[in-house]
């Protein structure tokens, strides 16, 4: 039994693999105390090996988890998870809580090249989450709300704080708030497509990570790239799955 955990900035996910079968999936908010949340998510789990990815990957220690543990980066975890779900996949976009990653894969599923945002959370889940609160909406509804817009208003700034300033100025001008929301989604897509082109976008193209739950980002990405991305079921579980697969590959070697 192998446990794969993805400890992200906003949420943590657990996938339990028994041979090739996913026997358990769990998800919890990371909160300000990820170590305690880690204990909760692992409650009752008996694993031979725990494999962790995400920002909190180094939190996983034998002491905390009661099992041998290893870690890997989100980039490798997503490559493994996506290659398992879509063996032909050549490009991956992962937009998580505070990072965006574009990854190109070789034919054998190995990472050929990747791009990741540095230091700033511009254009990530955090960006959307922050702006959703400006619209007084839960993050889960923000994408559908924006889809009600017709003409995306231009938001020039990628910086979360400046984008908020721009959005509130537009609101004060009496612009349609749904068009503003649409513009904010468009700014994420602009940044993301640049990143994808830098790693060399080729199909099949898979979009995963928490932001892949947002229908507006998916639509706009499809329009911008002229490619409809494949989105796995439970796109935010891919990191945990890939992590578990990595753990499994290690036990198979030894």
């Amino acid at each position: 039994m192998i446990a794969g955990i993805d400890i992200g900035s906003r949420s943590m996910e657990l996938v339990l693999l028994d041979k090739n079968e996913m026997v358990l999936e769990r998800k919890l908010p990371t909160t300000f105390d990820p170590a305690s949340q880690l204990k909760i998510i692992l409650d009752g789990v008996k694993a031979d090996l725990i494999s962790a990815t995400g920002y909190g990957r180094k939190l996983v220690t034998e002491e905390i988890c009661g099992a041998p543990c290893v870690s890997l980066t989100e980039i490798k975890a997503y490559a493994l998870g996506i290659s398992y779900l879509f063996p032909e996949a050549r490009t991956i976009l992962d937009i998580g809580g505070q990072d965006t990653k574009a990854i190109s894969l070789m034919k054998n599923g190995k990472v050929a090249k990747f791009e990741m945002n540095d230091r700033c959370a511009a254009g990530t889940g955090k960006f959307l989450e922050h702006l959703a609160t400006v619209f007084q909406l839960p993050i889960e509804e923000f994408g559908n709300y924006a889809l009600g817009g017709t003409e995306p208003l231009t938001i020039n700034s990628m910086c979360t704080v400046f984008a908020e300033t721009e959005a509130t100025s537009l609101m004060a001008q009496g612009k349609n708030p749904r068009d503003i929301a649409l513009g904010l989604h468009a700014s994420i897509v602009r940044r993301t497509t640049n990143m994808l082109h830098r790693v060399g976008l080729s199909e099949p193209f898979v979009f995963a990570g928490g932001v892949a739950n947002n229908p507006c980002v998916i639509n706009m990405l499809t329009d911008a790239l002229n490619i409809k991305p494949l989105v796995p079921e439970g796109p935010d579980m891919v990191g945990a799955l890939g992590s578990a697969l990595y753990g499994k590959s290690l036990t198979e070697i030894s």
Partner: protein, 425 residues
């Protein structure tokens, strides 16, 4: 690192002693975490630990003693300033402080915010009065290797005695003429400052001393690339950093001793990391003391740095000055030729750098290259694209990093470096 015995000296240098104590404390802790914690270091590194622990103490005392004997102290920021000439007028040449976030706020009152960390740092160190090297200098030599430095020296020149060398931007015959006139202009300036004349004898000696230093570094650079890796990249970086301010003769002897130890290690196939550890080359901007952030991240991510293509690396030691000249004129020409080979990103075009990178990557047998640019460093950030392309042609993967001296992006950098190491493993 803090020594009360030096307090009077620091006060005489007009340092802000309280702020300087704070700097030494942070430096000492940083050094302990990054260097002293390493396993299986060579004994010869004790010399460097000592040099570094006395970087603001004993070495400054030596500079003061030299001054008392009537020698002059020349400060520099760049590998373009020929140390041969300083030695020929019996002056001491030292590199100046520029590798830490210090005095940034003060610096931003005289240079724009979007200036690279290195420039902000040397100005910040000066304005905060915490660099005993800068304060010891009788003359500081600047150079026009980028617009940021060129303009920053205008502000810096109001605070310290400066002489600026114009480094050409191309490598045509006319540029060589310009560079020679700049080398001669520096020679005149140094002669005026010290009251000594550059003679064939003194210049020959200067050339010999600096060449010997470069030979020791060349030897080290060759040995470090052995498999298994006999010395950490961090330690080699430190040696290269120290080469800019320690006494050149003592430095050369110590590094040759260290190389003897490395030879023994290699003979016994002893490494500081397992033989299959991914081997990386660092390429790009210089890393002044104590800018050890990226090398530390790399070497705590399961890789080892075995080659350094930077000014604090092979760029400073790759080429020697031809030693066959007999007259001052011939030797000045030899110096000009040697310095015109420097493949700084300030040149256009700068194709030699691509060739040198490819060659070094192959010689050192690296699995990948990490290209390091300081944020807002136009020349190196631009060349990132070319370097990546040149390496792709050789099937060497490259990761581009753009960062500064702050610690705010450490976690993101770790993820990117670890992912790169996973990718090439």
């Amino acid at each position: 690192m803090s020594e009360s015995a030096y307090k009077e000296m620091w006060e005489n240098l007009n340092l802000d002693v309280a702020a300087h104590d704070g700097l030494l404390e942070v430096l000492g802790k940083f050094y302990g975490d990054i260097y002293m914690s390493q396993q299986g270091r060579l004994q010869g590194m004790e010399y460097l630990d000592f040099v570094l622990s006395e970087v603001h103490g004993l070495r400054i005392k030596e500079l003061m003693d030299a001054k008392a004997e009537g020698k002059k102290i020349i400060g520099t920021f760049c590998v373009f300033v020929p140390e041969e000439l300083s030695l020929a007028v019996e002056a001491v040449q030292v590199g100046l402080c520029a590798g830490a976030d210090a005095g940034t706020e003060a610096a931003e009152t005289v240079v724009p915010r979007n200036t690279c960390a290195l420039i902000k740092s040397f100005i910040g160190f000066k304005m905060a009065k915490i660099c005993p090297y800068t304060e010891s200098c009788d003359l500081i030599i600047g150079e026009t290797t980028c617009d940021g430095k060129k303009k920053a020296y205008e502000a810096f020149g109001e605070m310290a005695p400066m002489h600026i060398m114009e480094v050409p931007q191309r490598k045509e015959a006319s540029d060589r003429v310009l560079w020679k006139s700049e080398v001669l202009r520096l020679k005149d300036e140094l002669e005026k400052l010290t009251g000594k004349t550059v003679t064939a004898e003194s210049l020959k000696k200067g050339i010999k001393i600096v060449n010997e230093k470069r030979r020791a570094l060349q030897r080290l650079n060759k040995l470090r690339a052995a498999k298994p890796t006999p010395i950490s990249g961090r330690d080699v970086l430190l040696i290269n950093q120290v080469s800019f301010y320690d006494d050149p003769i003592r430095f050369t002897a110590s590094i040759n001793d260290l190389c003897d130890q490395i030879d023994e290690r290699i003979a016994k196939s002893e490494g500081i990391v397992p033989e299959n550890t991914p081997r990386l080359m660092l390429s790009g901007c210089p890393m002044a003391v104590p800018n050890w952030k990226l090398p530390y991240i790399i070497e705590s991510s399961g890789a080892v740095v075995v080659a350094e293509e930077s000014c604090i690396g092979t760029r400073n030691s790759r080429d020697l000055v031809d030693e066959s000249g007999e007259t001052v004129e011939e030797m000045i020409d030899a110096i000009c030729d040697r310095y015109m080979k420097i493949d700084c990103a300030c040149f256009t075009p700068n194709n030699e750098r691509m060739d040198n990178i490819k060659e070094l990557a192959e010689e050192a047998g690296v699995d990948g290259v990490i290209h390091y640019s300081l944020m807002f460093c136009q020349p190196y950030t631009h060349e990132t694209f070319k370097v990546e392309k040149a390496l792709a042609g050789q099937d060497v993967p490259m990761l581009a990093i753009e960062t500064d001296y702050s610690m705010e992006d450490v976690e993101q950098l770790k993820t990117r470096v670890e992912a790169f190491v996973e990718m090439i493993s």
